[in-house]
Amino acid sequence: MQRLVLIAVPYAWLLALFLVPFAIVFKISLSDIALAIPPYTPTLDDGLATFFAALDFENFTFLASDDLYWKAYLSSLQIASVSTVLTLFVAYPIAYGMARAPQEWRPTLMMLVILPFWTSFLIRVYAWMGILSQEGFLNQFLLWTGIVGQPLTILNTNIAVYIGIVYTYLPFMILPIYAALDRLDGSLIEAAEDLGCSRFQAFWLVTIPLSRNGIIAGSFLVFIPALGEFVIPSLLGGSQTLMIGKVLWEEFFNNRDWPVASAVAVILLLILIVPIVLFQRNQQKQAEQDA
């Protein structure tokens, strides 16, 4: 009985806060747009028979026929992948440095990584607008040092989006890699050197493979939210930045087309299921290895 209650709590939570909302979104995606409140038909007021008869996959066929949508999906996948790789390259040296730092420094370094979370995400992205704009700090600095003659156009380009994503999701990459490197037994590196490896070879043949789980976990933690990212592309990106999160927002608020917006969301979720399942599998494998 006690067992049942314990299991029931998380399941009830999932049901109420995930499955039920998803069912509603899925239902809306099968509806038609209408000038009404709520802005779609049918609703349950129409009676069950009419309700089910009126549902169809029209919105999904529409998404497939209009190339704006699949281009937005592809572009999101590309931006999310590239930013994940960039984040990895920035995060790995930081995590490595933290793991090799003297023991008494590590809590402080960890604190510094987490510290940005104390400020609102939105404010931090706005701050980047001040840094990256034509008259921003970065351009002023570059002009002052004479590295560039003309101010660079960074804000409202994909580069700004990459900077924004890498900056925002960096801690999600650092922490799992740090956790993996922290557990790494130093004598393994010594053993590799003892057996004839140079420092670099030892890093490549021992450190990297043994932090693999951290790299995979971090990559998914960055890739998954970056794929549906809306705030960063809409604030830092330009008109040519095409990301599905932005498209979704425009469908919903500008066109007030809830059914199409819901269809976009359902497809996004389906795309995300693949990396989420892979991520879960990686976590499980790691847990087994630790056991």
């Binding site: 393994l188 053993a191 050197e193 057996l195 004839g196 070879q201």
Partner: protein, 375 residues
């Protein structure tokens, strides 16, 4: 048939493989190794023995190249190796934690060092197969380290460190993680492998029994210095300091003052009103010089009546009996309150034990049974 005894340390012409020359190692203000000089010869099985923190691991890490000496020089086959990084030394190490690569199979772990040498594939396969056979691991080649037992892991670590046929193999507490039975079996296996491969082994251990079993010579260390280097027999039977006598095995130390009574014979005044103890010693003592008589418990005999015709006999009372199965150790309080341990082999079953608690007994030993040591 005369068998040649392996004792290169007694041959003045023999060149040592490893030579520590006045090596000092400091970590900050802590002196880990204090002006140490030592020769280790080819094909030796050399044991560094001492309590934790005595510097034995530091010596090993300096040989492997993970630490540099603060002063002095370490020579390998006549060459100073201070400037040679660990990956360029013909020295391999077996780590205390084994340090097996968890992401590689047993085969790949053993092949790891060989791959760095860029050996041809067939050559590499042969060598790994040879190592697997030597350590009886053929069946486990495809397993990962977490899929095999502790004893098997230990053998993988040994095979991996031997694969490159190093001039010198370092073993850092190699058997520490094994249980007592397996440990004993593995000690003989180690000796066997050392003999087969002809590699020079240097083993670090805090287990004196292990050092005595495997080593051709033992160095007893304390606080960064070597107290004595000798064969296991000499370390046990002829320790040259109280520290060494006390560190290796059980010992009774009777303190007193020496008085010469003949050729290499001394009387030790150990307790007022008691007959002096007679001890033989090649080491000279001045009259009245403070000395310690180190006496192994198994060399002390125990009697119910006062024995005749023996130089040293002391009366006492049994305080405690430690029954160890094969042996019994009697703790006997002698005049003055000192407790002397006497050990007897239990060659008969225990049904009739001759002595029990509170019994008054006589202890006796010959003049050559003990070693007379200076202050």
């Amino acid at each position: 048939m005369a068998q040649t005894v392996f004792a290169p340390w007694d041959e003045p012409a023999e060149k040592p493989l490893i030579r520590f020359r006045n090596v000092t190692k400091r970590f900050g203000s802590f002196v880990a190794i204090d002006d140490l000089t030592l020769d280790i010869f080819e094909r030796e099985f050399f044991a560094l023995l001492g309590p934790s923190g005595c510097g034995k691991t530091t010596m090993m890490r300096m040989l492997a190249g993970f630490e540099d000496p603060t002063a002095g020089a370490i020579e390998l086959a006549g060459e100073d190796i201070a400037a040679v990084p660990p990956n360029k030394r013909a020295v391999n190490m077996m780590f205390q934690s084994y340090a097996l690569f968890p992401h590689l199979s047993v085969y790949e772990n053993i092949a790891f060092g060989l791959r760095r040498d860029k050996r041809p594939k067939a050559d590499l396969d042969d060598r790994v197969a040879e190592m697997l056979k030597l350590t009886r691991l053929e069946k486990f080649a495809r397993r990962k380290p977490h899929q095999i037992s502790g004893g098997q892991r230990q053998r993988v670590a040994l095979a991996r460190s031997l694969a490159k046929a190093p001039k010198l193999l370092l073993l850092d507490e190699p058997l520490g993680a094994l249980d007592a039975k397996l440990r004993q079996a593995t000690q003989f296996e180690l000796m066997d492998i050392q003999e087969k491969t002809g590699t020079t082994f240097v083993i670090v251990t805090h287990d004196q029994e292990e050092a005595m079993t495997v080593a051709s010579r033992v160095a007893v260390m304390d606080e960064g210095r070597i107290m004595q280097v000798a064969t296991p027999e000499r370390i046990y039977e002829a320790p040259d300091s109280v520290y060494v006598a006390d560190f290796i095995g059980e010992v009774n130390i009777v303190s007193g003052r020496a008085r010469a009574i003949g050729d290499e014979r001394y009387a030790v005044e150990w307790q007022e009103g008691q007959t002096p103890l007679i001890a033989a010693s090649e080491r000279p003592f001045a009259d009245g010089q403070p000395c310690h008589l180190a006496l192994r418990p198994e060399k002390v005999a125990i009697h119910a009546e006062q024995p005749s015709d023996i130089d040293n006999a002391v009366q006492g009372k049994i305080l405690d009996i430690a029954y160890l199965g094969n042996l019994s150790t009697y703790h006997v309080e002698v005049p003055g309150g000192q407790v002397i341990k006497a050990q007897t082999a239990n060659t008969r079953r225990i049904s009739r034990r001759s002595y029990t608690w509170e019994d008054t007994v006589w202890l006796s030993w010959t003049p050559t049974a003990g070693v007379l040591l200076p202050e």
